[in-house]
């Protein structure tokens, strides 16, 4: 299991380093706690935590190479003592975090770092970026899984993700959120995610005729052939696929499916279903892909489309309706002082925190309380668990399958009213009395 390589400690905003130099100069290197959380998002009723494994890997490996220090020195911005300090820096802090696959809500910390101030500051950019994009995409994918209402959903987004790292992240995040497979071969190799794929229009056009292309493909992949039928004319394509399907039958094989990739999916899927059924091929599945997102899936299913599985691409892969989370990382305590930023209506909760979840007897989520780290609230489950201590991971991280199962369990327990694609009912999140009192004091 490995991610695209950690780009190293220079993958950071310059101000993290200039601030660190400022702290170093004033010998301000007390332990500080920073809280990572999402402010509200108008289009999201919940978020899916992801990215923790990658963060723990990176923090474990965190150090400046000699070459990096030399380059920083050449910028002329930093003095020798500070650079000497950086050259020996390792991450020695503690991290508590929600496990990947947990569901969280606005203002709830998903992760808190407690480390010497300089370390905790320098990792800011990387933490926001990594947990941010992983959770963004897991959340978007969960919405698609919900909208598909039990039908399999496959990640087809690789070609249009925002770069290669996002392309890997979306495959992993979508799998966590319940996607059945990905088209991304490298994600199959690295993480064992099932891979899926058939043919593009170019394959069909590379042959003299559509039927010839179908036959060539079916002969080569007799157990997994899905034929793309919309290159020329979708209904004729369905008839050609039916001919190939029936000739496979005679050889004791079965055509797995056909794929629609354009046009009016409700009408076409029903017409294609009839063509296949009339040809005695009612086991042949209809796959569809065509710029789908969760809203399209919901509409298609409501409209009576006869689609057995969905390929979901670009709009999911970039979370097109909400392409970023307002994820922030704020200092909440330094030394023995709880701190907060209060300006222009953006309020941050001071102090080291815990998120407590209350469950119904059947496991359903009733509501959360953001409390102080040391509090214990009867009948609730704390969601932030220690994952690193003094810079070391605390035991093995869960496997991807475990994370996926955790999410599936959680998602069942979240009431559907919070999962509505538009105007979801707000999930109840309150602040504990003790944490509220602390805010008054700060």
């Amino acid at each position: 299991m490995s991610f695209p390589e950690f780009p190293g400690p220079l993958f950071t905003d310059l101000y993290e380093l200039t601030m660190a130099a400022g702290y170093f100069d004033r010998q301000l290197d007390d332990t500080a706690t920073f809280s990572l959380f999402v402010r509200s998002h108008p289009k999201r009723g919940y978020y899916v935590a992801a990215g923790l494994q990658e963060v723990v890997d990176a923090l474990t490996r965190f150090h400046f190479s000699d070459e990096e220090i030399d380059w920083l020195q050449q910028t002329g911005r930093f003095n020798r003592d500070f650079l000497a300090h950086l050259s020996t820096l390792r991450f020695t802090g503690d991290v508590i975090a929600m496990a990947e696959g947990e569901i969280f809500f606005s203002d709830e910390p998903v992760l808190e770092v407690s480390a010497p101030l300089i370390q905790a500051q320098i990792v800011e950019t990387y933490l926001i970026n990594t947990v941010g994009v992983s959770s963004l995409l897991a959340t978007k994918a969960a919405r698609c899984v919900h909208a598909a209402a039990g039908r399999p959903v496959v990640d087809f987004s690789l070609r249009r993700t925002q770069g290669s790292h996002a392309g890997m992240t979306v495959a992993r995040s979508a799998y966590i959120a319940g996607f059945s497979a990905t088209s991304n071969v490298l994600a199959g190799k690295i993480w064992g995610i099932p891979i899926s794929g058939t043919m593009a229009h170019s394959f069909v056009t590379a042959f003299e005729s559509e039927t010839e292309a179908f036959e060539a493909y079916a002969n080569l992949f007799p157990d997994s052939a899905v034929l793309l039928i919309d290159t020329y004319d979708t209904l004729q394509g369905a008839r050609n696929a039916a001919i190939v399907g029936n000739s496979m039958k005679k050889k004791g094989k079965a055509l797995l499916g056909v794929r629609l990739d354009s046009g009016d999916m409700v009408t076409l899927s029903r017409q294609v279903r009839r063509i296949l059924d009339d040809a005695g091929l009612s086991d042949v599945k209809i796959f569809a892909s065509s710029g789908f997102d969760e809203y399209a899936l919901e509409r298609l299913i409501a409209g009576g489309a006869r689609i057995d599985a969905f390929g979901v691409g670009t709009r999911m892969g970039v979370s097109a309706d909400a392409p970023y989370l307002d994820m922030i990382y704020k200092m909440v305590r330094v030394g023995k002082r709880d701190v907060r930023k209060v300006s222009e209506g953006k309020i941050t909760l001071a102090g080291e925190k815990q998120v407590f979840r209350q469950h119904a007897d059947d496991g359903g989520f009733l509501g959360d309380t953001i409390g102080m780290r040391g509090e214990s609230l009867n009948g609730t489950t704390p969601l932030l668990r220690p994952v690193m201590e003094k810079g070391r991971p605390m035991g093995p991280m869960p496997t991807l399958e475990e994370i996926r199962s955790r999410f599936a369990r959680n998602f069942e327990r979240l009431d559907n009213c919070h999962k509505r694609l538009s105007n979801p009912e707000p999930y109840p999140v309150r602040v504990s009395d003790r944490l509220a009192a602390l805010q008054e004091r700060v």
Copy 2:
């Protein structure tokens, strides 16, 4: 100069490999030409070409490692002969492309690959992804530069880009498009892009008082200090900054600027300007950053904000109003046969192409013609130039500074009516008579 490492040939959709297996099985490996272009986008009047350097690097290094071949074999999907073929595969094709920094329009090929069909097919996913995200972000950045109307713009997006690759790409693409600097330290190291950054709210809150934080920072960075003044109260922050600015003056130094990061920017910037001017600090610049994009910059300037330079972050870094381009890669010729896909209103132009641009006497862009590769159209400049021949780069690629200059020259020549942020006037793009005639024949 190096990009985040090429993730290798398994960074591809599975169907590229299953199609390749199909071609191999039928010995279909004639030279094929694929065309990379963007279908129309309702929110974009032009696109900025970027990503070519990265593509050429990757194609040059393209090969399957033994480990990758072993893994593909273990999937049980591919036969021995095909895998043996893959194991010796290198990219041996030709590439013609627009240089990075060219401006292009919907339907115009930005790149065409001519290579044995299997190679040309397998690289599809990578090409779309890489040229797609680089051009997407360069285009978004160009819009911000245009909206800033001559004021410097700095890339602050790193923390919220969709992953690390996008974080690197946005710094490079934005620099091409005319940004003056980036907060991304690694981009400074890899590409020599000027880096910029000051302090976050956490720096201010780490000190007992705002003034103490300002003094500490100004002492350490006497030549480049920009003080963040909105942690507690922006106007009081401006007064505190003025005190620090005047004490720097006495030491023969000068405060570079203050930064606003929240609130009503028009009102605040004017109030802060007055406080600084009244304190005799009219040389101190006002920087502002606060969830800006090109629309916000245009509004602020029109509203009379007294802002000298902008930090532009998240919305630019994910191209929030248009988070993907509908970039596609279509086979247009295979062997001696020109081909096209025609289905459901999506039409592709068959044949190997060239884009011809007509210039006015003063250099201004008058209009483009998409023609056949071999055509010559009087008084026009062909934009697609050979960059790889038989798998080898043809000479050195331009430097980043050259690319940036090329874009600046081009952008001046594009009429402002096409640069409007909303409802830009369509730029004239026609199809040549010969190319149109070819479509009739196909």
